[in-house]
Structure formats: structure tokens, C-alpha cells
Symmetry: D3
Subunit: 246 residues, 6 copies
Amino acid sequence: MSEITANKTALVVSAHSADFVWRAGGAIALHGQQGYQVHIVCLSFGERGESAKLWRKGEMTEQKVKAARREEACAAAEILGASIEFFDMGDYPLRADKEHLCRLADVFRRVQPHFVLTHSQKDPYNYDHPLACNLTQEARIIAQAEGYRPGEPIVAAPPVYLFEPHQPEQCEWRPDVLLDITSVWDKKYQAIQCMAGQEHLWEYYTRVAQQRGVQAKRNVGIASGKNIVYGEGYQSIFPRVTEDLA
Amino acid sequence: MSEITANKTALVVSAHSADFVWRAGGAIALHGQQGYQVHIVCLSFGERGESAKLWRKGEMTEQKVKAARREEACAAAEILGASIEFFDMGDYPLRADKEHLCRLADVFRRVQPHFVLTHSQKDPYNYDHPLACNLTQEARIIAQAEGYRPGEPIVAAPPVYLFEPHQPEQCEWRPDVLLDITSVWDKKYQAIQCMAGQEHLWEYYTRVAQQRGVQAKRNVGIASGKNIVYGEGYQSIFPRVTEDLA
Amino acid sequence: MSEITANKTALVVSAHSADFVWRAGGAIALHGQQGYQVHIVCLSFGERGESAKLWRKGEMTEQKVKAARREEACAAAEILGASIEFFDMGDYPLRADKEHLCRLADVFRRVQPHFVLTHSQKDPYNYDHPLACNLTQEARIIAQAEGYRPGEPIVAAPPVYLFEPHQPEQCEWRPDVLLDITSVWDKKYQAIQCMAGQEHLWEYYTRVAQQRGVQAKRNVGIASGKNIVYGEGYQSIFPRVTEDLA
Amino acid sequence: MSEITANKTALVVSAHSADFVWRAGGAIALHGQQGYQVHIVCLSFGERGESAKLWRKGEMTEQKVKAARREEACAAAEILGASIEFFDMGDYPLRADKEHLCRLADVFRRVQPHFVLTHSQKDPYNYDHPLACNLTQEARIIAQAEGYRPGEPIVAAPPVYLFEPHQPEQCEWRPDVLLDITSVWDKKYQAIQCMAGQEHLWEYYTRVAQQRGVQAKRNVGIASGKNIVYGEGYQSIFPRVTEDLA
Amino acid sequence: MSEITANKTALVVSAHSADFVWRAGGAIALHGQQGYQVHIVCLSFGERGESAKLWRKGEMTEQKVKAARREEACAAAEILGASIEFFDMGDYPLRADKEHLCRLADVFRRVQPHFVLTHSQKDPYNYDHPLACNLTQEARIIAQAEGYRPGEPIVAAPPVYLFEPHQPEQCEWRPDVLLDITSVWDKKYQAIQCMAGQEHLWEYYTRVAQQRGVQAKRNVGIASGKNIVYGEGYQSIFPRVTEDLA
Amino acid sequence: MSEITANKTALVVSAHSADFVWRAGGAIALHGQQGYQVHIVCLSFGERGESAKLWRKGEMTEQKVKAARREEACAAAEILGASIEFFDMGDYPLRADKEHLCRLADVFRRVQPHFVLTHSQKDPYNYDHPLACNLTQEARIIAQAEGYRPGEPIVAAPPVYLFEPHQPEQCEWRPDVLLDITSVWDKKYQAIQCMAGQEHLWEYYTRVAQQRGVQAKRNVGIASGKNIVYGEGYQSIFPRVTEDLA
């Protein structure tokens, strides 16, 4: 699993420019380490809704906030070993039209991802997250259609995983995959520390990783002699196709 | 995946003596082929509830029906490459007491399964099926307890998969795993043909396998160049622990 | 629909001896009027849990309470045009063993019902109700089995409807059938008045009937020119088989 | 039920121009045979998302694809005995504005349907389908409002049935109605054969019909002596109002 | 609890101009009586969808209907002791763009509500209701964001309660709060009587209040010696934070 | 809220002798501090399933394990300020008959609790927990019945709260109450430290308390100026009856 698989790719769609760090930083670093090229799309910078600390500094403008958030996100992506781009669609509220949808479908076509990570389908604390989830799912479907930009290579049926929201039970999110991120925890925590504007979340998401680590250890089957300490939870959208049930 | 893994084992718990054939015959044959030792426990022979054709023959007794059903089940298990045992707990209604529970926990201890297959958690057409499911899950938990027959080696946390009921939507059963059984379909169909008393189901479950095959093909990711024709659906109880999301 | 259909039958299973009146009195009277022979089984008299007024009279014994409740139930059944029998299994808690199950399966065999009415599957206010529901469903399945009392005529697949619990939303009960009981409301209210020990419920269940009546009127299709005033709600367990969707 | 009822009507809303065939062809033919005038609205031709085979022919344009799809759909509608119109709203993604909504509400006013058929409420494989479902439901509500085009006759409360999606369990679709389409299967299969561009689905939907047929047979009540071979499943949105529970 | 708490405020968002009366009139009057300043926003007048009686008068225009509805709503609000404003967004269909969203977020900022009341999240009979619910929830989130109109005081995390829809079970609405409105029932019924155009609902919603009253009485704990006669049910969106579980 | 309310009581039902500490220790200490008399019933000692460390010591018997567990539980209860009793029903599997049910109903009668705490309704990792939940709920219902031990004072309708299971999402447990336990955290952690046999859980449940604390802070309304650091989550069974929605 840890050998170089140069052609493998993954796509992460993040509503705001820090979500991918808290929620999927381990998956990004882990698959990067396994040779995947992971690409991140940030739909917005979270400039309105997730930059409270920056706004409180005074003398702030939306442009300055966005610039600061971009810098943080780029630094985090680099640590995690991923490429990143920004759609700058605005947040609170995030809104998507057909052009945004096609732009994301085009990213699917370009990246040809082997799996996709995005937000949960419900979140009463954050309406931008479900919108990002739906945009991602619909873009994936469009990128699969022969009649969309006919002649281009279509995408296959990459699995979609929903990463953990802030208050999982309230979002009707239920993990059916626990990813062992022990080997890349250092990188994830380094990336988390790039998020200077949200320092109150550093320890919160460290504890999330520890809890999912304990749970992963408890759910693991016989074969594993591994000591899992840190984990990330994911919820699948589609059935997994396999030949091995162990 | 198809290499010999001599120590791998699996456990299948079937409420009646034919359930394992229709619902999990592909998984049994496939893992047998991969070197797993698969063991089947039939809680009852289905002598009352699933032997209509035999009863209509006339001159029938419960003992005769059971004997006929045992023979069919043994023949099917042999074709699928699995060992089999019978608890003879009676059906319609199936009822379990503490002794049955311990007996099954002891099978868990003996087999040390890498994964477990059993029935769905609800079935308004068949109350024996959910009972088998709950008995299996509770036996697995007891076999994990240090204080049950202290000193014996406990079992790890093998994943539990629920196989497909006759009318899936009415049972609130939703497959999150699609198993490609194309390579062993011949064996499964041969095992199905052992069930002389339920010939009306042969074609029904052939079509089930074909539909799950088409669905598996549609859900498969990039890597696969395989031509999936036959499938089996399963619903997981526990989250899967992994290091690879593709 | 209102013509005489002499061979049609229905079975109502009531946990306590008054449930059938509040919850299904309209259906019983309506189908009685249509020529159905409706048979009621009361699993208990509700002597402990639903006879508060009687107990407060003083000088009371369980036997006296049961006798009073039996009398009320018989009077109500007569008004509704149904036959009635009592299993006297005890209440609070109601408990069923294999014998009770077979006894009820035998009633299914004898009555050969065209439809079945019983309690909801959940009720956090009353654990006897779900038990009655499950007992009824399992008895129906057993009565369908060729191997149960071989030689006897088995029952077909009568639809099962769950009648309205006291606090529907808390019981996860959702009506998918609204029965127009306007033409038999007088009978139902007369039967309700037999329940001298629970007078506080008379107006409550009158209002339930009025609300379901208004809702039925709102949900009715084009064809109906009828003025629906009173209704009863039911939740189906099984899909309806039909040739007409209007 | 099979007598001529000249004034009865039904409305089918299909996201793409072939959906109505696979999913509701039996219902259309059956009610046509019973004297209903069934009208089909195709919101799009499925020109992008469901015409892969046509696009692979080469020298293809969206206009050519649409024309080919229109021809197929018209031929199928004719075989099924229904009228058809095309909204040509585009697919992948299908999008609806207030004008489309009013246009469909006006169809409701014109057709005055006794029942309505459309797509499931969720479908992670196809975002156009839930959109069609919601558009249909909202149009129905608007057509019921006295203040929409005041003076026009409003529509009553026709039941809405959701037809079967491609992977039912993944769409949280659960059939509560099984329609016996045995008597019109030949017509449905003939209509299916009009869909030259999706030949891979012919046998898939034949097997769907066979499975629903077996299930209908198993769920049918006493009265029926019929031999059901082919079926279609539907999920109701609203409670059914009735006076007969058998 | 009934002391004057001059700074306490609440916000009610009503899709149509009468919804707040039927569904939340008790809560409004009760909290008004407790010293809360309750503010109502009516997104539309319900001029198309909920004014059938007015339209049937003849010689009617949309403007006249709106004027009549506004008058009724103002009268009701006055009786209930609340302030009211009208967004006049149109109904059947209600549609909201970014401007409406910001307008409502600005109301949140101005009112700084201690709690919020609005519609259920689903309603197959009325698509305007869920839209109002979502608009309210998203406006609340935006009003919490530091970056929305930076410098303005943001809102805290007021609990959101969903009031009772017309057919609760069909809307997947489940009350987890029962409000005792016995002391203000007179006011609520007086407000109800302002709705001259919907007289058929007066008794319906009186019975709703009586049923919820009986249920509240049954669910109340030890401490209460109160005689609850009328109630209103609410469903919470967010967990309640407390230091007392009794 | 923190004044002495000498007559207030609460009941906690714990499947194994440590559950009440991890899951409800904060609630117990907090209400104790508020003057409640909190009584704990441990159905078993968790001697088989939750005493792995003790069994590994060697020279162990079930009696020794039970004695050690009893000692730990008594020490913890004392720290939390609660009384405790042990039913010694056995674990893995826990099983309850009518006598156990009556015994617990009698505790309800004796304690007359203002609220009740117990386990979640589902737990695929632990079948003893749902059994404890159901036993508690049914005992509460029986204790409410006039006809159970007629003449004794019945219990009112105390709210029932389900405490947090080990893997909440897998248990379909969703907190609707977040209890601020910051002021008693020291006591809870002291009680946790009594559980010498399960030291691996100390930090796990510390983090659970911290996460629920952060969430409580985020969900709290305007009025609170408090700094919440530690919390416990609960799920309600019944609707809350109130006169204040803030």
C-alpha cells in the first residue's frame, strides 16, 4: 500500500479554505505518501464566516482576509503534499450556478480522481457545507456524461467519502470508514498549525483524531498488529466493490 | 488476493439450512477459493417454514424433512468448499436461550473468524432471520470477553456483513458492499441446484446475482478493468478500518 | 364496497381489552357493515395498567377488575358487530411464550383473515403494545408455514395495518392509509362509551377521529364527492398489490 | 377495473426521455388499457447524460441526439397508448426556474390527473431525478391554489407515486405499492425495444419486472387467484384514503 | 418565569401571513406575557395559496387579497402582543434570493432573538414551508458571522424551534417540546378568529391545542401540579444546554 | 438552580458497575451538588465483559472480580455523592426476567425519581446496554400503573435521558441535551480514577467531556456568560414540557 503508484490521484473539495485541513488532512498526507497526487479545490476562503480572529484585528478588508486565508491554505497544502486551487465563490452564503458546476466538472475531468473527499450532506450549523457536498456530487455525475464536452475522456465512478463535520450527530453523519492516520499525524498537526486564525480548533481536532484512533483500534480485525493512535472518520456515499470481505 | 492464505477463516450463520446458499453462496465459494476455511452454522433446517414442497409430498414427518434438508445443505456446502454444522434449534419460530448463545460463542472461539456473514436486522416476512442476526452479534461480543471461559483465547473484532433478504427494501437493508462473484458463479449455481425443494427460487436468485453484478460494474472505480457479471450485496455493521480509500 | 361479502373476515389483535375500541372501532364497524366477520383477540384485560379508575374505587381485586373490563369489551364488540375472545395473558408486563404464539397462529388458521389490525411497532409509553404487534406478525408467519400443523389449510398473505398509538410521533408511527369512518361514527362512539373506566379518553379519541377526518378529506383524489368527517389512520407493513393507482 | 372509464387521466413526469419507459411503462399501458388518458411530460431528452451510445457514433451534435431521442420516446409513448410532450429543459444538469414550474402547473390544470408518476426523492447517481420529483410535487401544489391563475379550475389532490430508480436501496426508495403489469408486459417490452441507444438496459429492466412480479405474488392477499409474473414498484407520497382495507 | 424580562426577544418567521397564528400563537402570547418582545416576519401574504375564500368572493385582485391578509395578520399580532413586518416575497411558489437572505439576516442582527420559531423542514403539502425554514436557518448562520457587515454586533446561538405542520407525521415532524399555553389560550383563539378567510381551520387548530394539552399533561414530571389544557408542540434543531435535567 | 432542593431525587440504571461513571458521572455529581438524592442501580458488575485487566492478573475467580468491581463502584458513587445498589444479574449476556423487572419497578416506586438516566437504545458493540435501557423504560411504565401493587403511590412521568455510548454514531445516539459539568469535573475525574481496571478509558472519557464542553459552548444561547469547559451529552426519550423556550 505504501509503494509509489504514480498515476493515482484524488480530489478534495473544501467549502472554505481551512476545512480540508481539520477534516481530511490525514487522508491527504497519507495518500500523498502512498504516491497519490492529491488536488484540493477550495470553493471559498471562508472570509466571512470562518475568519473571526482576523476581523477582530481591525483595519481589515475582505481582500486582506482572503489573502491571509489563501496564504494559510497554501502553506497547509504544501505540508500535506497536495496541489491546491481556489474558486473564490464567496461564503456565508456560498452559492453555485451552472458555471461553477461546470468548472468543477472540468476539474474532475482533468484530475480523473480515484476517490473524492468532501463535506457531509447535512449541517444545521453551516449551510455552505452541504452545498459543497451537493456541488461535488453533481459535478462528478456531469463529468461522467459522454454528452458533456463530447470527445473528452469521461471520469469513472470514483468513490465519494464525506469527512467529519464539527458536530457529527447533529449532521446525521455516521462514519463507515476509519482511516488510520497515525503515520502522518505529525504532518497533519503541522498543517493545522498554519491556521493561525482558528487556534481554538487545534486541540479540538487533535482530540477528534485521538478518539477516531481509539475507535479504529477497537474496530480493526484480526490481521492487524498495528498500534493505531490517530484516525479520521469518513462516510461513504456509494457501495464499495470488492473481492475480499476480511 | 487469490493466493493461498491458509490460516484465514470465516463464519456464516444461517437461520435455515438453505439461506447460506441463496444469500452468501458466492462469498463462501470466493473466499474458499482464496484459501479461507469457511464454516457454516445452520441454526435450524427450515423444516416447518421453508420446506413446503417436501410437506406436500405426503407421508412426511418432521424427521424426514430435516433429513432431506440436511442432505441438501451438506451437498451445497461441499460444492462451495465449506464445512457445516447444524444446531437443530427448530424454526417457525426459532428461539434461542443462553445455551444456544454460548454454543455459538464457542464456535466463534474455535473458528476465530476473519469475517462473519449473517441475516438482516429486520424482516417482516421472516422473524427467524433477525433472531439469527442478533444471536450472531451477541455471540461475537461474548466471544470477545476475557471473562467468558477465562483463559481461552478471545476473538478479535471481525467485521459482520448482513446478506441480502428476499425483499430488501421492506427489510430496511441497504448494501454498502458489492462482492464480485463472477469467477465462482458456476459453483454457486451448482449449490443452488442442490435445493430441490425450492426450485422456484433458482431463477429468482440468479436474477438477484445478475442485478447486483450490473450494479457492481456501475459502482466500480477506475482501477478495475474487470467484467463483473454476477454479484452479491452486503450491509456492514461496523466501520471498516483501512489505509487506502481508493 | 358496501355490498354483502359473506365470506370475508378480519382479525384484530388488541394488547388490552379497550385498545380495539379507541384505535380500530371504526374499521371494525365499517367492515362489519360491509359483511366482514371481524374477530377480536384481547391479549389481556389491561387490568393493571389501564384500569386506574376501577382500582381507585377501593375493595378491588384483580379478578373484579378483569371481570369489569371483560364486560365492557364484550359490550363494545357487540355494538361494533364483531366476535371477541380473551387470552388473559396479563399486562404490565405482557409476556408471550411459544404457547401463546401458537394459540394466536391457530386463530389465524381458523379465521383466515383478509386483513389484520394491531398495534404500532414502537411505543415508549407502553411496552405491551409493540409486544402485541410482534406477536401478531410472528403468528401470521407461522400460520403461513406448511410445516406448522401439516395438513391444515395455511393462511394467505393478509395485509397488516397498525392502528394509531396515543402519541403518534413519539412512536414513529406514520399513517399511509386514512379510513373514512363517517358512516359508522355513531357506532364507534357508542362503543367508546362502554369504556366507563376511561371516560377521560372519550373526547380525546373523538378529536383524533375528527382530525383524521379532515386530513382524509384533504388527501382524497378527484373521484370522491364524499363529505368525510371522521377518520382512522393506519400504517401498512407490506406493499399493497393492485392494478389501479387512482 | 378494466372497463372503459373515458374521463380518467394520469400524468407522468420523466426527467429524461426514456425514464418513463423503464420505470413506468407498465403503469402507462395498464391504465391506458383501462381507459385512462395518460399524458407524459419529458423535461429533457437526456441528450448529455443518457445517450452515450449515440455520442460514440461520431459526427454527432446535440441537435441530432435530441432528435433521435425524441423519435424513440414518441414511438414508445405510442406503443404504450399515451400522449407525450417535451419541455427541452436540458440535462446534466437539469435546472428549473419559475417559468418551468408554471408551465408544468399549467399541464396539471389542463390534464386534471387522477394520479401522478415521477422520480424518487433521492438519487446519488442522478441529480436530475430528484429535481424532476420536486418540480412535479411543487407544480401540483401550485395547480391546487385558487390564487394561481384565478378563475381556472384548480386540481384536486391526486396521489403521487415515485417509480423505481436504478439502484433502489441507495436512493432510500421503498415500494409500498406493487402493480401487476403481467397483462401489458408485451407492450412494455415492445416500448423498451424502442430505446435503441440503451440496449444494455433491456434485460436489466426485464429482470426488475420479474423480481417485482415474484414479490407481488408473495404479498397478494386471499382474494387473488391471479398468476402475477411481471410487476412495477411504486412509493406513495401521500396517505391513501379508502373504505376497504382488504 | 412570568416576571418582566424587558430585554428578552424572540423572532418568528412565517411563510404566509396566517401561519404564525395557528402554529405559534400560544408561544407568542405566552412569551409576550413574560416580557419578551416578540417580532414576526411574514415572508408572503399567502395571497395565492391560502386565500381561497377571498378569491371566491369575485372581483378580487392580488392587491386586494394582500391588503385583506395584511389587515388580518396585523390584528392577530396585536392581540398576541407582537410586532410584525411583511417581506412580500410572493407565494406558491415562495422563492428567496441573496437579498432576501441578507434582509432576514439583518432582522436577526436587529432583534437579537433569544429563540426563533419557524416551519418544519419537510412538508409534501406545502413547499413554501420548508423554504421558509431553510431561509431562517441560513439567515441565522449569516447573522452569526463576524465577516458579514463587519463591526456590527453578531447574534449568539439562539435555539430554533419548528412549529407544527398541518399533517405532522407526513412531514417527519416530531415534537420534543410541549409548551403549556393554557394561560394564554383565550388570546390565541381571539387571534385565530381574525383569520376570517380560513374559518374551516378554527376548530381544527383548537383541537390540535387540546390534543397537545392532553399530551403535555401526560409527559409532565413530578413537580408540576398544574392543570394543562392547551398546548403547542415544537421540534428543536439544536441540543439544549442546561444544568438541570429535571 | 444550585439551592438545596431536599426532596428531589434521580435514578441512574447502569448495565455494568462502571458505566455510570464514564457516562453520567457529571450529571450525578452536579445534581448531588444541587441537593438531589441520586440513586444508582448497577444491574451487573461487568465481571465478564468489562474486567479484562483483572482477569489477566491470574488466580482470578468470578467472585474476586465482582468484589473488586463492587469496591470500585462504591468508591466512585461516594465521590459523586450518590447511593448505590447492585442487582448482580450477570453480564455477557445480561438477561432479565419478570422478577428483575418488578425489582426495578419497586426501586422506581421507592425513589420516585424526578429524572432517569440509562443507556442508549442500540449498541452493536454491547448488547447488555440496550437491554438495560429497555428494562429501565419498562420498569418505569409498570411503576406508573395503579394496578401494580395496588395502593402504593405510583410514580409520575419522570423524563428519561440516554447517556453517551462508546461509539455514538454507530449506536444511532444523538444528543439533544448538553449538560454543563464544568463545576463538577474534578469530582467526575476523581471517580473515573477509581476504575483501576480500565485505565485506558480515563483519557478517552476526559476527551469526550472536553468535546461535549466545546459543543455546549457553541450551542448556548444569549443569556449565558458562562465558560463551559466540560460537558455530557444526553438523548431524551420524551418531549419536554415547559413554559419557556429561551
